[in-house]
Homo-oligomer: 466 residues x 4
């Protein structure tokens, strides 16, 4: 009689601290044993020559998310979760959104319904666009109790932004409730000011999107939110830090002893503002916010990752199609940058790009890769040790990784529902062969085999960062 449901045999296991040769025994969807020469499994996977990695946690993803206005997110939970698993990611944290004047509880309920089709596990940050007292005092305590332990606020975007006054009330609520607030930090009025000036001057090409929001716009707001966190003594997570100056503000806050955490995203490590200036309207595919920066900023971000200032890397997956009535070209290929829907997809490529550009190129070691793709996010967002590591008792969320496989990224490879990838043609070394979610294969040999609905909602506990 087999001792385990599944044994992954002869692989090299990596955690955020260690790398060691070990079989992995899985029963009931959990890792129950690590050891060499474990007893038989009902099923076995030979991982000789492979890395056995904690499945990735992508803590910033937009999947099947309604947007204000005409544009629609290309991915459903079925397609988005498939693409995530293709790239080794086994948990996504997305967003449930409050409509202004509306209820966040209702947004959660609706989003839970949509997410039922996910193939991988999931949780939500609660986007608060209208933090009225009844929301903060009645809805949020219940939602936090149900495991929705993080909020998201925007300080820019006409349809979503809240004022500093409201942001302080959200932060104060987060402090009371032990929730973590994630912040999109750009100086709204400066972006508007620049945009008006650019349009007036006829500077409307995709590349001018980056002109409208230069680094100072982000640096200002990062400092501001750090100051608000300092005044209230409450932790925050700064989203999508895109370059050196903003990262320096994060580091200054950390040096003051604040619990200011930060992510950057795949695109800020491999794309640049020059991509926005590709011939024709091709640059539209690279329009996202913040805008991609320079090679020097990429180097600065890697350095900040190496030194732990920036702790996790997400995709900010926002799959806007190029074609069609919701696409980046919906208003024609002469449309001003203000009419190009924001967002780039990235669920599938996040881990392979980080492995290839990070580990293979010698910028980071394997435990750091595990940390920035999984463990840090798990700790920050209350999923550890259930998620984010390979340890006894953890969910058997595992990416079996071929470290030598060379892949040229194409739309066919990423398998999301978008019609393009901004990483088209990008070459990486290392790719996951098999992705398990709670011991069940969702991807096998690169093929999506997991069924929609396999994913489970993850109630989350408090962040455990000191």
């Amino acid at each position: 009689m087999p001792e385990f449901d599944l044994v992954i045999r002869n692989g090299t296991v990596a955690t955020a601290s260690d790398v060691f040769g070990s079989d992995v025994g899985i029963t009931g969807g959990q890792v129950v044993a690590l050891g060499r020469g474990l007893g038989a499994g009902a099923k076995e996977i030979d991982a000789t020559g492979r890395l056995v990695l904690p499945g990735g946690i992508d803590s910033h993803t937009h999947i099947e998310e309604p947007r204000g206005g005409p544009t629609v997110n290309a991915d459903s939970f079925a397609s988005g979760s498939a693409s995530a698993a293709v790239g080794g990611t086994t948990t996504v944290i997305g967003f449930a959104r409050q409509e202004r004047g509306g209820s966040i509880a209702q947004g959660v309920a609706e989003h839970l319904e949509r997410a039922r089709h996910s193939r991988i596990d999931y949780g939500f940050h609660l986007i608060l666009t209208d933090p009225r007292p009844e929301i903060l005092e009645e809805e949020l305590p219940r939602l936090v109790e149900q495991g929705h332990r993080s909020f998201k606020i925007f300080l820019t975007y006409a349809g979503a932004r809240i004022t500093d006054d409201q942001a302080l009330e959200v932060l104060a609520a987060a402090r009371r409730l032990g929730a973590l607030t994630c912040i999109h930090a750009e100086h709204h009025e400066l972006i508007e000011f620049h945009t008006r000036a650019l349009l007036k001057a006829g500077l409307t090409a995709p590349k001018h999107h980056a002109w409208a929001k230069p680094m100072v716009v982000e640096r200002e707001c990062v400092h501001r939110v750090c100051a608000m966190a300092e005044a209230l003594d409450v932790p925050i997570q700064v989203f999508h830090v895109s370059g050196g100056e903003s990262a320096e503000e994060i580091e200054r806050a950390q040096r003051r002893g604040l619990k200011v955490w930060a992510e950057t995203c795949t695109q800020y490590l491999v794309l640049t503002a020059e991509d926005l200036d590709r011939p024709g309207f091709e640059g539209a595919k690279y329009v996202c916010s913040p805008a991609p920066r320079s090679r020097a900023d990429q180097a600065a971000l890697w350095e900040m990752i190496r030194r732990g200032v920036i702790g996790n890397i997400t995709s900010d997956h926002a799959p806007t199609r190029y074609a069609g009535p919701d696409g980046k070209s919906a208003f024609g290929e002469d449309a001003p940058f203000t009419r190009i829907p924001n967002g780039v997809p990235g669920l599938a490529v996040r881990m392979p790009v980080l492995f290839s550009e990070g580990v293979v190129k010698g910028r980071i070691d394997l435990p750091t890769f595990v940390s920035i793709t999984a463990t840090h996010a798990a700790k920050l967002f209350g999923l550890h040790p259930r998620k984010g590591t390979i340890a006894v008792g953890s969910d058997a969320d595992i990416a079996i990784w071929d470290p030598a496989k060379r892949v040229t990224i194409t739309q066919a490879v990423v398998q999301d529902a978008n019609d393009h990838t901004p990483y088209e043609g990008f070459e990486v070394t290392g790719w996951p062969e098999t992705t398990l979610v709670r011991g069940v294969p969702v991807v096998e040999g690169g093929r999506v085999v997991g069924a929609p609905g396999h994913g489970r909602f993850l109630p989350r506990g408090p962040y455990e960062m000191i």
Copy 2:
């Protein structure tokens, strides 16, 4: 026949770079000759053993300024200018104010009328509380042409604050017009947030005024306005930097190559937050914004002055009486700090305190004293070389200074129209004996002899700082 209208004989002249023994020959209200053994003057002053210093420029003063609400500024131009001259100051820059919905040109006209009674020369910063397009595009160009070359904006105070959006429009107008924008920089919403929390908690004493606006409130806003200045590439003057953290933001901006200038005020160099906690309601006398900080902040400010990061020191003279219906105690001695009118007087003490605490105590040398009390402001605000130095062709604005005189500051000494001074009992070494404005004594032997109306409006040119 006398060669000069007036000769100051045998004194030691100081400028922002030099100290030398010289007579000063004055004719037509100007310095026309420097030399030893100058020919006779119609009038002569023996300055043996005395310093002959440029009269001070106090570039941040509130005199006879209407305030929203019930409180009235204690000083008229007659009394305020007398007190300034008592302390060696010969030029004040005050404020003409736009009422919301109103015209700044009208505010200027009214203030010019009031200022006609000044005994010393004067100019105005234009307080913009409602920068509508017609104000920015029609009124301001005319006013700048008339020599009102600096604007003042508030980012806090319910009655005066403008939004970041409006601030950007003001900065853009300043850039177009070659005017300098002065900024009161505190994070409005944080102050409000703290204040609500303090009141709710019953923490309402004068000292809680400082709790409502800790350093982070100011540091945040200083960084923000520096970022806005950086984005628009326009110089700014940050008002009343009150401690180390804010000064560090100023320095960081300067290191980036920005033309970010800054003042601090007398009170931030000699008062502390502990003064707000004096027995009874005495602390109310020290309620001003920003709030006085700590000894460590004082040391940091002196260091920033020594290294030139902070270039001029003003009084932010805001003479609110203690008694009476407009006074700090108007709402009783149990009034919460929110009902205590802000502001401390300081016109008379600014130069003596800086001389005593700076030069006599060895923190700065005499040329630096001249620079921070006169020359730097003259250059920044377009008054140089007419004002702010003793050079051929300059106005004969001169303080004849007894460097050894010991004075204990009292209300009788300062001679303004207030009913108290927060510097009561403070001892200084060094005091001006005689103050000349364009060659005419306004103070002689400590006695005010200049007539109201001797002062002249000063049209100002562009700042000449590189």
Copy 3:
């Protein structure tokens, strides 16, 4: 038939990234299995309510080390390794020393002989006092091949110091050989200068030891060695960083992208310069180099640990007796500080003090504790993954830790061969009950049960830090 030699059952295992409930199966001195409900062990330990931690690595210890001059190290390998194990440490890295004019290979051979009596595993840094070409080119390559992969140099101390010129040659050899150079960094001439001045002034008490080597002495040298490492592009480990200014230089080097690593020591986190001023000659017990600093420096060091700037904490165990002909009082209790032998013991207290002051007081989390006491040192000094973690295939070096046990430190508790401990009376929460070295108990229930000679020499591989 038992499945394992030993099973540690029902404990909570911690690594540098994870904390999880698991049994630990040990066979042949190695961890062979992790899991719940593991099969039987020939021997079993019930760890219910206990932490199961990687045994500590103390990478800076002086045990049975000959010193120039009359003083003798109080500990033999038998006593020192017992004390280490009492405090949860299972590996020590000590020092083999080259005498000037002599051979380092000979120093190694002699020290290997002494170390045969160790109860726990060990390796050596090679102290190079005379790096002649034949040493660098002939002896070192052989020694590195034998697993002595780290060097130690002193830039102060008359008997041991080498010049910058020699230091560069050592660093160049380390680069060629893939060895890591550890550096005692204090500006020698400044110490000498200060010492001459103090003695001349009659300032000879123990506390004046700290006056002779203020922080600037260390900061200077830390910057200097970072610069040398930068110029040669070679990693270094800076020993015993004692306060904020030096740590800041470490951080600046790391920000430049350098592989500059650093340790601090227990004493710099809990002792201060005031301890040197204890009544009578008691202060002599606190004479070590660098000298203990201030509370502010302690806070700065904790902050640097929290942010990962300082990666490991050692004891710099240097057990100089108080009494006797080799003791701190050998020259009488009026002896000038220059005649007090340096050094404080600390092998036993290192981990308990860090657990209590760090984890229990909330300054760091448990994985960070594991990292700074074991994992980081293992990686830095080429012992990972054999040592420094609990993972399949690792040596079963384990401290079974009672996290709630309260202990008042006394000489009886620490069980080394010294006659005093500078931590006498210090109270800690948390203490190891049982310490295993390769699966064999060396301490059980606080009692030393491991035999001298159980320890093994550890040949070490290259550092694996990126």
Copy 4:
């Protein structure tokens, strides 16, 4: 009867703080009056359209200075002082040198003899190569009393360098005597190490001179000397700061409150390391120490000048000929860089280059130009207010400057005794027409008219910097 010996009429006078239209009345070699419409002079100069500037002080010059070894300085005092005056400089501070084992008093006596032929005024820094107790305790007090109030030490160069131990003794003596120590700061052993490696690798071209002494070599030593100054609480002047990293160390020291002053030199503002790589052996003309750096370093230095971190600019005039037995090519045009004598000339071009690159290009204003070329040095080296300004009582050392004159620099223009200038072909706007030393023309209309021997030795007082 004329009222003055000389009147400079109708010019625009500039000081370090002011710019104003004024005649200058000169009698007895001093400025005795400033004013418009001054009485007649026995001689008059029409300065209409001209700037009337304080004659420059070049506080770092090597003129007719014996060097260890075969090379001889191209300039005599007659030729060097002529070249200086051609460029508007009226005072030079050179060096009297102690031979090892010898007396500095003798060095001074000999150098005073040589300097008798100078056309402009002069003083000496005392180069201490062998600071034995009798030198420090007997010779130096007498020399300081005679007005030699500054020392110079080298921390590199085989023939001149002193150890850190000796440096501390010199600094201590300087502190006792109120003298200022100037320091050539480069890490000697690193230079030697690099040089050995480069020669071994056959990398011997002029450009490899810069490879032997990269920025880190200088930054290290700058930090070290700042630390020594901090430990002893004594002011220092760091010579020839050549780029951003070193300047940052200067600034950090100033932020700590230290009296650490610094110069940079003309060559570090307009030459770069690429000049060392000119075709053939041309690069040898640019071999000086420190080596010229990059454009980014030039920008950093200008920024440091603008913010006052670096206070004066010198030429470090070291006129080594290209041809001849003492020249840069003495060992052939294939000579390794180690055999190329160091040093570039620059007396004549210093002020014109700074005026053109600084004032004309908008990097600094005119008062700053006066400060960095004259006033700051005067204050630092005890010559103020006699020298370094135009004020009543000051020596009439004046450069009458045509701000619009365009000059292409050639060897014929600079009029020193060298056979080349590294600035050949460099174009500047602005040049002095007439240079007066104590009221006597040394250069008139660009022609040297001052006689050798007109110069006077300047006994100097203590620095007056706070």
